[in-house]
């Protein structure tokens, strides 16, 4: 299998800087990853860590006041080197996006059938209205909207949150893209509905062999469907590996902190541990390791954390397991 077929999405040294009145703010600072066909990469981090910017950058949907560097290869084509016109050919066709808030992301003035059909017709200009509508109903059925033909005539506000998110997904997969970016797709939903929507995404990934990037802050979601995980902090990946690497042998204090602040039904009676301090953002980035002001292990390493930013280095576990921490590969975190 050709490399671009096996890895429909390859991001290399992505950097996104925003020009603001206070100067340049770096939102994403040297992020690299690739996603294999039929696999799910979860990007995990707190708000402001740069995960949403990363996901938008993959579609080339970054505001004009930002400069984006590096490369984003979608089936071998570099999103950042293409013209806007060429990008529009890929968007929605080879790479699609599901947004967090479906109520805000759907057009309130158009029926959902129309919106899904329009998403199809953008890339199939020869299709007539009827064909596009039929395709839209198919897509709505594929994401589990009951009575899709009737519901296609309704407006977004007539749908429940979970159903609306399914409509959003139908819009994204109607052209059978190779890559699907899901930006916090379940955050706005009830827990029970969350599981259903995740299941829909997982089924579609399997059936269509999509490479999926799931942006989330919810480790429960990660454990359910991710194959690989990248933990993002302050515009960097601080740890990445398979889902087993991350859950069984977290090697960055920040990952450990995230795990400890997630409820675990088996750890009966144990109190949740919050990570102290506030997340560093692009405009107020600490020197050295960006996590050092909040890190419990910084005294163990000493001065070095304050002056030198650690690079991603190999860690025990799977071949892909990497962490950016001065503690080194031998130190096992509890």
């Amino acid at each position: 299998m050709a490399e671009t077929e096996q890895f429909p999405l390859r991001v290399d040294d992505l950097r996104v800087d925003f020009a603001t009145r206070q100067g340049t703010v770096s939102a994403v600072d040297g992020v690299s990853f690739q996603v294999e066909r039929g696999h799910v990469l979860a990007i995990v981090g707190e708000s402001g860590s740069g995960k949403s910017v990363t996901s938008r950058a993959c579609l080339g949907l970054i505001d004009d006041n930002a400069t984006t560097r590096g490369s984003i290869l979608v089936e071998g084509q570099d999103m950042l080197a293409l013209t806007e016109r060429e990008r529009n050919k890929l968007r929605g066709q080879r790479i699609s996006m599901v947004f967090q808030d479906a109520l805000a992301a759907l057009n309130p003035f158009a029926t959902v059938g129309r919106q899904v059909a329009d998403a199809y017709r953008v890339h199939h200009p020869s299709a007539n209205r009827k064909q596009a509508h039929a395709r839209a109903v198919e897509a709505l059925a594929a994401v589990g909207v009951p009575e899709p033909a009737q519901r296609a005539a309704q407006f977004p506000h007539e749908f429940s949150g979970g159903m609306r998110q399914r409509v959003m997904i139908a819009m994204a997969i109607v052209n059978e893209p190779a890559v699907l970016i899901a930006d916090e797709p379940t955050t706005a939903l009830d827990v029970t509905v969350q599981a259903q929507v995740l299941q829909v995404l997982d089924e579609l990934r399997e059936r269509m062999g999509m490479a999926m990037v799931l942006v989330t802050h919810d480790l429960g979601v990660v454990a359910q469907i991710a194959d690989e995980v990248a933990v993002m902090y302050c515009g960097h990946f601080v740890e990445k590996g398979t889902v087993f690497d991350i859950f069984d042998r977290p090697s960055h204090p920040y990952t450990l902190g995230l795990l400890n602040s997630t409820p675990d039904p088996e750890a009966d009676g144990k109190r949740l541990k919050a990570i102290p301090g506030v997340p560093a953002s692009g405009s107020s980035r600490p020197s050295g390791c960006p996590f050092h002001p909040r890190c419990a292990y910084q005294p163990e390493v000493g001065e070095r954390c304050l002056v030198e930013r650690p690079e991603l280095g190999e860690r025990p576990g799977s071949e892909q397991h990497r962490a950016a921490c001065h503690l080194g590969p031998e130190r096992k975190l509890p």
Binding site: L61, N88, M97, N107, H157
Partner: protein, 328 residues
């Protein structure tokens, strides 16, 4: 939808009645006796009483108002015999000064006011929309600064000042357009247009600048809205994205437009005065000057009715444009 419209119409009628009562009471509490104005000098007490009776203002204010409301539906007659003054329904009052019913006065002047109002409002709408969207598209660059700067200056300019400057520059100095007066459309469409160009431009500049500011901000909101980002994520062309964004701008702008148009139709007081056009606004101002109670109450109520009707139309239009209102 039908129930919604019926309910709104019923409410509107009550609002109008309340407004007419307020206008009545305000004018009734004035110290000037309208009968004395007509009576002339010297004015015998017997004659004054006679006139009071003729005008139906020898009763308490509330009873007078009831007569007025009745007149709206069935008409009224003042006096008896051959000299009786008949005011047929809908009777908005009677001007004893002008010896005409207010309704017929308004109807006679409506073409003038309508010509000014409709042309000015439509021009304002399109000029404002175009410049607002232009500004939003070039945010923080030269076109945006120009639109924002000039609209701010225009918003702060009184109508009469801008009107007088326009007359001075385009009428006297450049001698391009007539400076005053109105020619009916039926008489000469070209002259009609020629006389209206300047008032239209003045209204367009003034109302248009508030549209422009509103449209600019609304367009920026729309362009930043998540559903537009989602639309771009489907690969939609910039044209489609622009069209979708503009649709979101039209909705609130149409509301402003409806109310503005109604306000102008009720009488563009300053514009009519400055350009020497005897429309409804002119009628109102003259009526106030002469203490002509009938004219003042009638034209004020007419203006209020237009605004309420425009509100109703806008609300119904909203129902058609926005599906969330329709079923809500």
């Amino acid at each position: 939808m039908v129930r919604f419209i019926v309910r709104r119409v019923i409410i509107s009628v009550f609002v109008l009645l309340a407004i007419s009562l307020c206008v009545y009471l305000i004018f009734y509490s004035s110290t000037v006796d309208p009968a004395r104005v007509i009576c002339g000098r010297p004015c015998q007490p017997e004659r004054l009483t006679q006139i009071h009776q003729l005008m139906d203002i020898d009763k308490p204010a509330f009873a007078q108002w009831l007569d007025f409301v009745k007149g709206l539906f069935v008409g009224r007659t003042f006096g008896t015999g051959p000299s009786a003054m008949i005011c047929s329904a809908p009777c908005l009052g009677y001007s004893f000064d002008l010896r005409q019913s207010v309704t017929s006065l308004i109807v006679a002047r409506l073409p003038i006011t309508a010509s000014i109002a409709v042309g000015g409002a439509v021009l304002a709408l399109f000029a404002g929309m175009a410049s607002g969207i232009l500004a939003a598209r070039h945010r923080n660059r030269l076109p945006d600064h120009l639109v924002r700067g000039s609209s701010l200056v225009l918003l702060a300019t009184p109508t009469y000042l801008l009107g007088l400057i326009a007359i001075l520059v385009f009428g006297f100095w450049l001698n391009m357009v007539p400076v005053s007066g109105y020619v009916p459309f039926g008489e000469s469409p070209v002259e009609w247009l020629w006389h209206l160009v300047l008032p239209w431009c003045v209204i367009a500049a003034l109302s248009g600048s508030s549209y422009a500011r509103y449209a600019r901000n609304q367009m920026l909101d729309e362009l930043g809205a998540e559903h537009l980002l989602a639309l771009r994520a489907t690969g939609a062309s910039p044209r489609t994205v622009g069209r979708t964004a503009r649709r979101g701008v039209w909705v609130p702008i149409i509301t402003l437009f409806g109310l503005d148009l109604a306000g102008l139709l009720g009488g563009a007081v300053f514009t009519e005065r400055v350009f020497g056009m005897h429309g409804i606004g002119d009628l109102l101002i003259d009526g106030v000057g002469r203490h002509d109670l009938g004219v003042v109450v009638g034209t004020a109520l007419f203006g209020a009715a237009l605004i309420i009707a425009a509100n109703l139309v806008v609300d119904i239009a909203y129902g058609f444009i926005d599906p969330r209102v329709r079923r809500g």
